[in-house]
Assembly symmetry: C2
Homo-oligomer: 493 residues x 2
């Protein structure tokens, strides 16, 4: 065991956990100043307004602590505003003999140091959602000193923990390292992934979203920044930087990085532009009120502005002016609505015996795999997205339900505040209401709440499974369906 | 910018950083209790003894703050002793309708929830080095409640931040989740990577290390643990757990996990067994004193025992009894020694015109790629390991230096307290002393100090480059050599 105090583990195990504790009023961390507690409370209040605007009851189970969690995540995710590069680098600059600035000395101007594949995340200043970053940093030491390698990661982290856009983030990391280490030059390359938005108008098939709606995919952008000798056109050091990245299969060519795409990468901006080009009538009006709670769109916008203010930001700086609008627009994808709307479409009438490429008929198990979805975690107000695999048994041989109908079922349960476990069960129950011999549903999803916040488990992925009817007793049928998914995944590489 | 206080960024940039600050006496974090500060100081003192035992001057640049860094890393890496599972899970158990325990209910006994690919690290109780973990956790909800997904990761983290061995870690995560969530069952699978040790006697080619010395590789082990319905032999849920892992290409078969290999996976134990089987004379004697500093082996052992005690561990528990011996033995690989010993072997006399499969002759550039090494970061007393690529120009066409000689050069510079930048430069200078037309050295390494500690940048990898002579002026030659490495990496997949 090796616990600090003997028996502490057993005590933990014995005590277990009750659900009875009063979680309505959880105090903020000790050690916070009055002003910090006040900001935290202000964010919580704002989140309650947003939940009401979505037609939700902030006091329902599952949502009671959501304002606290969201406030905590926002504060952690923007802690970079309070950190100083100087404090980080101080004490981590080490004299190193032989590091002359002149070329021709080992460890000199040719002595590039590159740290590759640093995983970070930041918050998009356009929509307030986190985005993932793979960061590559290089510098050429000078002045006979090198910096501790971990400081390159820590400095990058300071600037990523602010409301950002990719290009400014790269520039800020580059400038900060250049000015604190005072090297011959710095190079920064960032590969950023932004979640793809579900359609702005989820229940309308006439999507105005201009790009292909691939909910499994991410919007990617590559940006870079350089200083000193790494910026010089005639110097080959930038090529060396790219060559060292290539050794790790990170393929960036000169001129690959795209400033213009980076400035408009956030789908909220693309969507807005698209909406304004002839679809303004669909944009929510400020006076529009949630029928359930009486919270207006304007009140939701004001709540987001208050969050920005509480984070220490200036809501009037030009990059943030439209942010409340974008964030509310995105949240409204998850507004509580009459979900039965779409389920009306699901009946035997919609089943057909057309078997297209998306179907795999395995004995009598009908499999519909890889239905993409994007939903929103009700505990953190952050997206989780991935794919749904549905299997069902039908007596009528060869009869299948159309993929588009199942896609609608998935979508109708996804476009609200959810947890993956419930989403899985609800999809299974909906399909089972029609095909009541046996249903199996597997959902695989990335949770942005696992990538951002204190957890930062970048590669983690959650799978849930629900079985009804024959699948719950027939292990072989269940195993066959799971193998079908595995085979399909393998064949898609 | 969006900084909290306007101009704060510019101020950071302007102030830069001086090297003048007094870093000899850095205070511990505010908020520590007296007893915590005392433990921290005790670890620092112990690390100073270890440095002296290695023949190092703890006051030299680069080492002055090492005791502080090591103490901080040990304390952070074992913070799990002070964390309680109850505090983590509390407030994160959510009622979820429809989660019956009976089979046949969606989200019931078939409602497995699996989080895959959680990256963790822990400290090996046998040798005190960190090891990497890829953790997969599953549970079957019951009692109409589910747990917040991030808590599965947080609970796993509590037990990984202790001195551990893989199987006990899996068991503890499993028990803790079972007792705190009270589900129908829990499944835990851990894939662990331990760094391979360099030879016990680095300057002796008669290695007693039994396994193939592959310093690029890791020692891997797979362990698992399960409870409740997931433990039942006749139940198919364990198969479902494995099937859901398989969807992410995590291939574990029933019976794959190996308890016996896990209990002896640490190379320090393998090495010790091997040494005791006939080579005990080589084992350091307690009375042996570092010629430079007068610190005995016994004093180093006592220092490690003191570290264990300061971390709140019981140095007399059976798994820890040999740990001071193992840690000191491992540290002694890096003792300051007469490195010129091996360099005597490097002269033109050792060059030859035998070109074996390891050589790539590219015009007049001789390339020797992928020489494995393992060294020790002097800032954190943690390993960094990887490969060295060496290129040089020679007038005598077809003349090459033997790979084994270059391997010795690399090894002689690696087996001491180092930083990667210096290692790169020293190798380049050594080769240049013989082949003085042009030399290029690229070192690629994983740093355990980037994986463990607060940073936890699992996938990060550092590349350094040093160029001398013609390579520093001939960008084309440099580019050709870098391309050779890239091509070689690509062909090795």
């Amino acid at each position: 065991m090796g616990a600090l105090d003997a028996g502490c583990f057993e005590e933990e195990l014995e005590n277990g956990v009750g659900l009875e504790e009063d979680v309505a009023e959880i105090g903020w961390e000790s050690g916070m100043t009055d002003s910090e507690s006040e900001s935290a409370r202000a964010i919580e209040d704002a989140v309650r307004v947003l939940l009401q605007g979505l037609g939700e009851d902030p006091e329902r189970e599952g949502l009671r602590r959501t304002p606290h969690r969201v406030a905590k995540a926002f504060r952690e995710g923007t802690r970079g505003y309070k950190q100083k590069v100087k404090d980080i680098v101080q004490g981590a600059l080490f004299p190193e003999a032989g590091l002359e600035t002149g070329t021709g000395h080992a460890g000199g101007a040719g002595g590039l140091v590159v740290v590759r594949n640093i995983n970070l995340f930041s918050y998009c200043e356009s929509c307030l959602l986190p985005f993932s970053i793979q960061c590559h940093v290089g510098y050429v030491p000078s002045g006979r000193r090198v910096v501790g390698l971990s400081k390159l990661s820590r400095v990058a982290d300071v600037f990523s923990k602010r409301l950002q856009d990719p290009q400014r983030l790269a520039n800020e990391i580059c400038s900060a390292l250049h000015n604190s280490i005072k090297p011959a030059g710095v190079a920064v390359a960032l590969h950023c992934w932004h979640i793809q938005f579900p359609e702005a108008l989820p229940c309308n098939s006439n999507s105005t979203y201009p790009s292909k709606l691939d909910m499994q995919g991410w919007i990617q952008v590559l940006v870079s920044s350089s200083s000193g000798v790494l910026k010089e056109e005639k110097c080959s050091l930038w090529d060396d930087f790219l060559a060292l990245l290539k050794l790790k299969s990170i393929n960036i060519e000169r001129g690959d990085t795209n400033l213009s795409s980076a400035s408009s990468w956030c789908p909220s901006r693309v969507l807005e532009t698209s909406l304004c080009n002839g679809h303004c009538a669909r944009s929510p009006k400020n006076g529009k009120t949630s029928s359930k709670t009486g919270v207006t769109h304007a009140a939701m916008m004001a709540a987001v502005t208050s969050i920005l203010h509480s984070l220490g930001e200036d809501p009037s700086r030009k990059e943030l002016v439209r942010t409340p609008h974008h964030y509310v627009q995105w949240l409204m994808n998850s507004r509580s609505s009459n979900l039965d709307l779409r389920l009306n479409g699901l009946s035997k009438a919609n089943s057909c015996n057309v078997v297209d490429g998306n179907f795999t008929c395995l004995n009598e198990i009908q499999s519909v795999l890889n239905i993409p979805f994007c939903s929103q975690c009700e505990h953190h107000l952050l997206p989780f997205h991935g794919v749904v695999h549905i299997g069902y048994l039908d007596k009528q041989e060869g009869k299948c339900i159309e993929r588009s109908v199942l896609q609608s079922v998935v979508h109708s349960f996804a476009c609200k505040l959810q947890v993956q476990e419930r989403l899985t069960r609800q999809i299974a129950e909906a399909v089972y209401s029609i095909f009541n011999i046996g249903v199996i549903v597997v959902v695989e999803a990335h949770h942005l709440c696992m990538i951002s916040r204190g957890i930062e488990k970048v590669g983690s992925n959650t799978a849930t499974i629900a079985v009804l009817g024959q699948f719950s007793t027939d292990a072989k049928a269940k195993g066959l369906f799971l193998q079908t998914i595995a085979d399909n995944n393998a064949s898609e590489g």
